[in-house]
């Protein structure tokens, strides 16, 4: 009797295991997504655009080549990478209490740059129009210097005091 039961159990197990069942088989594999982010682009304002003392009714310009007075930015990033340069320019300088403004203007030749192919602020590599977005390439050393000049137009009745405004340069890689 016991042998009969045992025989049945063995038979049942064997049949179950050799049934040509399309059972579920599963396999997983893992790969990696990889990327290398190279030098981030950085920009530092290294000199303010300084008009100095201004007389009422007398326009005053600062040339982009005027060392110590022209505004200056230093850009660093990936060597030879193409970048966009976008200026946000004020239309006026303001007293600290923001109650009185003095007009300021920037011409289409008021910006120069050196992408390591020029001779610095006095012999820059070229000019840019600050009133529209520009495109350039960082130098082989991954740097570019930008200078900006401008003109203020004080009224005859201009209130005395210290005027200022932000001049913003935004740069970004184009990917080219």
């Amino acid at each position: 009797m016991h042998r009969k039961i045992l025989y049945c159990i063995v038979l049942a197990l064997s049949v179950g295991l050799i049934m040509p069942t399309d059972g579920v088989a599963q396999e997983s594999a893992t790969i990696q997504a990889t990327a290398t982010v190279i030098s981030a682009i950085t920009i530092i304002g290294t000199n303010n655009l300084r008009f100095g003392t201004v007389l009422p009714g007398v326009d005053k310009s600062v040339d982009k080549a005027s060392i110590g007075f022209a505004g200056e930015w230093s850009i660093t990033g990936n060597a030879t990478a193409e970048i966009t340069l976008d200026f946000t320019l004020p239309d006026s300088l303001w007293l600290a209490d923001s109650t009185t403004g003095m007009r300021v203007g920037f011409s289409s030749t008021d910006v120069s740059y050196d992408d390591e192919t020029g001779g610095g602020q006095l012999l820059p590599a070229g000019t840019l129009d600050p009133n529209g977005p520009g495109v350039g390439n960082l130098g082989v050393g991954g740097t570019m210097l930008i200078w900006i000049g401008g003109t203020v137009f004080p009224r005859l009745t201009q209130t005395g005091g210290d005027y200022s405004a932000d001049v913003i340069l935004t740069v970004a890689y184009t990917g080219s």
Binding site: L17, A33, T36
Partner: protein
């Protein structure tokens, strides 16, 4: 002997061979980069081997970010970033089963030369993205349906 034969029939063997990682290579901050599923050497590539004619489901476990020392870099997989081909001569540029959604389970049949699967993606570094080597795992799971 009996048990061995029975086990082989029950669990039909399949393998996944990894032919290529999903490789974005050098990236600039603020500049998105697409790796097309059709780009050999950059798109991820898997080869599934197994019983010719057997139906399998294909599922991905996809990351949302790549990581580097605690910094993240966003990854985006669109609903057409996957392609497959089970022909005798798989063609990455013109696969038999194109523009598949890697977020959904795909069902396909293994061919005589297996089933090749490709995957592309978009990486979105921020403008001030921290420089470094970023990685993330992508898991492919293949399951026989029994059909």
């Amino acid at each position: 002997m009996l048990l061995g034969t029975g086990f082989a029939d029950h669990c039909r063997g399949q393998n996944i061979i990894i032919n290529n990682d999903l490789t974005f290579r050098d990236m600039l901050g603020g500049v998105p980069k697409v790796v097309s599923k059709h780009t050999a050497g950059s798109a991820a590539e898997f080869l599934v081997t197994g019983t010719a004619g057997a139906e399998v489901t294909v599922d991905f476990t996809l990351p949302q970010y790549m990581y580097s020392s605690g910094y993240t870099l966003q990854l985006i997989f669109t609903d057409t970033d996957c392609a497959m081909d089970s022909s005798a001569t798989p063609d990455q540029s013109n696969p038999g089963y194109n523009d598949r959604n890697p977020w959904e389970t795909q069902t396909y049949r293994i061919g005589s030369n297996g089933l090749t699967i490709w995957l592309g993606a978009l990486a979105l570094p921020r403008t001030n993205q921290q420089p470094g080597d970023y990685t993330a795992p992508i898991v492919l799971t293949v399951t026989y349906t029994g059909s």
